[in-house]
Every structure is written in structure tokens, then in C-alpha cells.
Amino acid sequence: MFKNYFKIALRTILKNKGLFSINIIGLSIGIAACLIIMLYVADELSYDRFNKNADEIVRVVFNAKVNGEDISEAVVMAPVAQVFQQELPEVLAATRLRNGGTLKVTYNNITFRNTRFAYVDPNFFEVFTLPIVDGNQVSALTEPNTIVLTREVARKYFGSENPIGKVLYIEEQDQNYSVTGIIDKIPQNSHFHFDMLASMAGDSEAKKSSWMESRFFTYLLLKKGYNIKAIEEKLPAITEKYMGPQIKEAMGISFTQFTQSNKVGLFLQPLGDIHLKSDFSDSSTLEPGGNINTVYIFGAIALFMLLIACINFMNLSTAAATTRMKEVGIRKVLGSKKKQLISQFLTESFIATVMATIFGTVLVILLLPAFNRLSGKELQMVYLLTPKVILGLSFLILTVSLLAGGYPAFYLSSFKPIAVLKNKITGSKNRKGIRSGLVVFQFMVSAGLIMATLVVDQQMTFIQNKDLGFNKEQLLVLREAYILGNDEEAFKNQILEDPRVALVSHSGFVPVGPSNNSMSAVFIDDNSPRRMTVYDIDEEYIPTMGMKLLKGRNFSKDYGTDSLKVIINETTAKILGLGDDPIDKTIIMAMDNQGGRQNLTVIGLIKDFHFRSLHQTIEPLIMLYHPNGGLIIKAKSTDMAALIESISTIWNTYDVAEPFDYSLLNQSYERTYLVEQKMGVILRIFALLTIFVACLGLFGLVTFTAAQRKKEIGVRKVLGASVERITQMLAKDFLKLVAMAMLIAFPISYYLMHKWLQEFAYRITIEWWVFALAALITILIAFATISYRSIKAALMNPIESLRTE
């Protein structure tokens, strides 16, 4: 019996090559897109899951609002780990990590740059599953100045030599470390990646008892079955107990008084949430994470793609069915049971699905490298070769066969044989409703995606063209120029001799990309310090960056005392209540943690500029006259490559071990929004694919309808209907459905995109023309799809449909 099904299925497929190809193409694309997105989503959700105790690990985070400043940090105070272990019986272990940045490591007179360095507590490897493969797991980091390396880095430094016991020199700290352990490469899906982990035992910061400064990523290993809410309820009391006395000492007010106008709190964040659900300040973020909304959006797209492909299959198969009614009738007359017919049609859909899955998988293999480049992921096809995935794929094939083939199978097999043979089958109202519903759904998704793509594009354009308060073009940043030491001034003058150079500023502070970083407390009143970003600049900085001085004057060499002067941004003036004209007013800045204060006179008011991403609002900023750090070059020429080449040549004339290193500010800026840009590109690709597959479906449905209304079209033509009229008649019905789809899609899309835009502090508003444009695109695409078939049907010679007897 099955052999017969198979034979018939193959012959039917061969007979309906065109329709079958559309079916397979649609389904292959659907399955391929679904697989790729599933890989992506699975990878995003797998972060930190490699840890054996992943479910029991939490991170302590800090949320506060102090003197008007919202503080949200993933780092907490040094004593928190120890205190929590003492105070909370649920805590089995507490361990800390302090980010040391990227450092220079020297071994045997060879210097290695960009080594990612962190201090960790000795029990770090008890909490995280990073097994020591060489060395002692328990005691590797108990001694000060000991260090654990990844195997990769160890091989780089020592080659085939045994790394244990070797001594490395770290320039920035002027400190030797001896290697006591080797770990494997930290898995790609970890929220942190370091090349070396040094013992916290030698870190003086770690021994501090201050509850007033946050520097430590603190992780707790909790007892199984813990209740996160119950633990968090105990935290305010602990905070008050330890932080209270220190607040009293520093500010002279009690904790209760302090919390009347301010908020401070420690919270717990499950390890599994860190990658996707973190929204902490940049300085307390180890690595840029993912975004749970993106995962949801992509997951939904994967599901929709598959659904739409299945719907196509159903619609196209029912379309093909009109040509097979006779076969069904004859089979029934000859004694075929409904069940047998259903099996036959399901066999066909099964064959098609298996073929589509094979094509889809091949597509994934071909497209995965491109997708990886696009998404910045390292997804691999081998992930798909696990028994779990193969089982899942088989399940997918079965589900899709049933979903896609089930409806046509039941539809076709339910024909009454006599009616079929006498050509009396007409589509019932009910079935038409189902098909219409399916089309509405497909175009709802398509129209929604079109609109989402337009909004993302618009926001990205907005970011690109936003007035940032500085000019990011033709700016070359040499952050490492400070290495030249006393030669830096000479180097600067040499660069200035180049006619292509407009200005050179001596500062390590830039508003985008890697920058020096400094914050100081400025007193709003006697008791209320507010943290503010501090820029150390020279007199060339403001013109070099193209920033705008609104009032007052720039720093100048001509005035001897500019070191006690300050230029502030508009936000600072507002927060400090300095009014419209802050010039000559005095601000008080904390000079150290011991209560030292300094009075500074405001000489200039600078227009607010964005020195963080557009996700965040502009914070207060003050500029001090303190030239140091690297160099920032403003070019006259647009040929930056040639200029870089010349400057690099000058650099090499100096006696420095460091190779020439630079960055372009506009490139750094673009990199800031890489995640959004990538998301935009991916969204656009999947939107296009979804629309393409939906159009295939619409095409099928028009074919089906035209076939079904063949007789009617013939009669109308005989009675004098023109081709335009028939085309119009056929197209109208579908355009109505598309219109309905848009009515449903747009509010949903608006809601979701509005929500997405909230992630940006500076954003576009979604205007009416976005809807209009999305509608126009949708209708045009739908119309193009419909017209081909409709016109073809209308052009058909009526005799063919009327001569059926």
C-alpha cells in the first residue's frame, strides 16, 4: 500500500512541478530560517549554563538614587561577599572578581599587549566551573601575586615549556606574578572572558572595609532550592547595619535620614539572567551582553516563518487539489476509504517536508558563516548533530508534515465522489473563511515586519545624523601617545607641521569608543555630593572636537591660573542650580576620599554633547585644564588613510617598543550601535524572507481561486466582461484581506516598536507616514503577486472552462 502511495506521490510531484517547487522553496526557506534562528536563540539562552551550579549562582548588584543620580551597577562594595556569607545561611560560598582591564605582560623581555586581566578570590573556581587542568585547584590562588592563565595564553607566552612556576611581569602594576595554574579557554558563552586571573590576596582594594565605593563583581553560591525573594528581603537590614555607620561618619546623617531622600539597595541577579537581562552602567559591565527582547523578537520570527511556510503548504496543496478532484472521486468509487486517502496525501506532504528539510539544512550550512559574520556569533552546524537536535528535527518534520499536509489531506478526502465526478464541487463558505484567515495571518506578520524594519531603519538613520554636540568626522585618536613621555610634545608639533592637520589636542578623553575615564563628586550643597564625569583637556580640545561654547571662554595658556577654572556642560549648570549664566560662579569638588575639597570657578558653559550612547540621557560633565594622556587629531583632509600612514612614519622615528596604534572616532561611534545595526540588518533579511514566503502563499491562493472560479470567469467573459474587470474582481478580494491584515498588524507593530524605542533615551517618534509607507509597500507587494495570476486567469479563453461537458 505504501509503495503505491509513494509512487502516486512522486508522480503527482512530477506532474505539478511548478507548484511543488514553490512549495519546497517556501518550506525550505522557512525551515532554514527557523533552524538558524533556533541556533541563535539557543546560543543566547545557553550563556553561563556550562557552570555545574548555574542555577544556584547569583550576582549581587547595586541600585541606588543618590542626589538625583540613578546608579545601577553590577559591582558592589568589597566587604559584601564576606558579610553575606556570615549573615545569610543560604550562602554556601561567596566569591569576587575585580576587572583589571587590558594590560601589558612581559616574559623574557617579550611584551604581550591586550591581556585581559582580573583579580579573583581563591574560591573562584569552587563557584564557577573552570577546572584547573594544570596546577592545584584549591590552592592555586591562595598566595598573593599568583596567577592562573588560560591554556591558550600560556601557550602563547611559554610555547611548549611547562608554565607552572614561571614568573610574568605586569608593567602597569610594576609587579611580578608567578603562574600556579592553567585553565581551559573560558567558554564562548560565558558573560566574562579573561586571559589571566590573579589572586585577590595581593589586592589592597579587596581588603577595604568601605561600603561607600563599588568595585567588585560578587557572586554567591546558594543552597539548592533557595528562594531569591526571601533572601532579598533580608538585604536592606544588612545594608543598614554595615553602611549606616559609614554614612553617619561621612555625611553626619543617619541611614534613615539618608534614605528619606535617597535610595540604596542590594539585589540578587540569577547567573542565567546576566547575559540577557543586564542594564547596568557601562563601567560595571564586563562585556556587552545580549538583549532578551531581541531573543523574543527572533524567536517569534522563527515561529512565524515556519507557520507561514506551513500555511503556504496548505494553501498550495489545496490549490493543487482542484486538479486532483477527479482522482479522488475515482479512488472513492473504486473503494478507497477516507483514511487511505488521508494517508496518501500525508505521504506526499511527508516526502515534501523531508525534501524541504534536506534543502533547508543545506541552506543553513551555506548561510551560517554569513549569519555568523552578521550576528557576531560563532554558531556551528555541529550543534545540530546532537541526538537532541536530530530528534527535534525529526519531530519538526513530522509536525510540519501533519500541519502542512493535514488540512489538504482532510479537505481532499472529504469530497463526495459523485459530486466530484459530476464536477459539482464548489468551495464552501467555511473553507474560504479558513483560507482567508490564513492569508490575513501571513500578511499580518509581513506588514508588521515591514513596519518594524522601517522604524529600526529610521532610528538608525536618526542616530547616524543626530547632532551629538561634537563633530565625529575626520578625528584620529592616538590614545597611546602618552607612552612617548617627554617626547609627546615634540611628536605633537611634528604632526602639526603636516598641512593636512587642522588641530591637535592633548587629552585622553573622547566621547565615544575607548576613553580615559574619571569621575569626581561635586557638591550640590554641603551634604549632597553628586558624581560627575570629569574630562581632562587642553585649550585645543573644544575646537578640535567641534564642541560649542555657549558662554564664557575656553581654557587658555595666556591665563596663568586656569588650573583652578572649570568648564561645565548645560546639565551640570542645571543640576547645580547655577542658572542661565553660570560664569564666574564657584563649584566645590571633592579632591579625595578623606574629605578634601577644592573650589573651582566656572569660566565656560559648553553645549551638552553626548559622551555616552544615545541609550542614555546626557549626564553632568565638567572639564578641567589638565592636558595629559594621548592625542586627538582633527584632519583637514578626508584621506585619513594617507594621513595615518604619515603619522605612523613619524611615530616610528621615536624610540618606542610600542607599535603605532590609532582609532577613528566615527568608526568607534558606529561600533557603539553595532548591536542595533546588526539587529536591523537581520530583521530586514528575515522580513524580506517572510514576505517572500507569504507572497508564495498568496500566489498559490490566487491560483487556487482562479482555478475554482474558472467557470464563472468564463461565463463572465462570454457575457462581455473585460480582462481588467476580471483582474479587478479577483484582486479585490485579496486586497481586502491584505487591508484587514494591516489593520491588525499595525497597532501590534506600533506597540512593540514603541517599546523598543524606549531603550533609547534619544529616539524618533513613529509618525503617520511610516504606517502609510508600510501599507503602500505591503499592498504593492501583494498586488504584484496577485496580478500575475489574475491577469492570466482573465486572459484565458472562456471556451476552455465552459467546454467541460
Binding site: T426, K711, E712, G714, V715, R716, K717, V718, L719, G720, A721, S722, V723, R725, L795, N797, P798, I799, L802, R803, T804, E805
Partner: protein, 231 residues
Amino acid sequence: MIQIQNLKKSFRTEEVETLALNKVNMKIAEGEFAAIMGPSGCGKSTLLNIIGMLDNPTEGTYQFAGHEVGGLKERQRTELRKGNLGFVFQSFNLIDELTVFENVELPLIYLKMKKSERREKVMKVLERMKIAHRERHFPHQLSGGQQQRVAIARAVVTNPKLILADEPTGNLDSKNGIEVMNLLTELNQEGTTIVMVTHSDRDSHYAHRIINLFDGQIVTESHNRALGAMA
């Protein structure tokens, strides 16, 4: 009214070419009632389709009311058909989704007639066909005879000069068949030219002239004296 000379029609598929009509010559005068007869596959329907301007001949000329129509484009044929020609089919070919009234109204819509005028004409012809009481019914709610009366009503609602009937009684019992033939005769007597394809000897006797086709060629023509005398 109709003048056909050396008309040929062949159908071509990938492998074979079939000659459906071969050197057909015929004339049909205004007011005539002609029956085309012949065995299945002899080319009757093909000839009727060409006369009805649903199809073009491969060779030869076809003049309708003095105009050469054999080589006209689809659009031109459509224009010429409108109002001039009415069709009656064996299988009625009513549109299932439309009511009796709407079916009959359709050709008038394509003639861009005003709504009030359409209503008047449709009701008049429905009454004449004794089917006006069924104007709101759908085709599947009617008997075969009633459906064919609706089809005839639709064919004549534009007052065409020529009615083409393809086996108009083929799907009807004898009582309904006779009724339909009487209706056609009545229309003919009022001046409408009728060309009818039929298998039925009985029906052919309503015609003035019987044209016998065989293998795509006219083999005999005979005049029906009794009726011919009447005309």
C-alpha cells in the same frame, strides 16, 4: 447575417495537429433558425464557438453583419459580442454565487446600463420566461428546466441579433426540453436569428435548416419544409 468561407480550424498540441473544421462554407440569413448536427467530435461546438466569436478560425473568412471578424483581437471580439450575441449552454453555466436576477443582470452591467433600466429589463425578461417569482433564488435551488429558462433570459436580455445555443435541451427532460424549444422558436419568430447545435432529431425539427457536419466538413444541408414555409 453570417457568411463563412473556406473556414479551417486546427488544434495543435506538442505532438499532433487535429483538424476540427475543414473548408466550411455557410451562410445564415437574418431571422433564420439553423440547427447544426453531427456525431460527437465532428466540430459542431468548434463551429459554434467561432460563430459566437469565442474563438478565431485558423484559416478562412467569417463575416458577421458585413464585418470581417475572423482575425479580430480578443478585446474587439468582446466588444462585438456585447449586446449582439446571446449564449445558451447545455450545462446552463449560471454563476452559482449570483441570484437569478443577478445572473440575468450581468450582461447589462457589462453594457454599462443604468441600474433602474437594468431592473426593468431583467424583470421583463424574467416574467416572459415565467421565472420572475424566483428572482432571489440561487441556481442550485432551481430545477434544470428553470435554470435553462434563466440562462435563456440572460441570453436575450440584451436583445441580441443572434442567439447561439449549444445543446440547449441536453440536460433536460422532454417536457422541459419542449418548453425551451418553444421559447427559442418564439424568439425566432420575433426576429432573432438562432444557431443551435444539437444531437436531438426532435429539436432539429424546430429549425428552418439542418446542417450536418462530419469530420469537420459540411456533408449535407436540408430545409425543413413545414417550418420553412411558416417563416
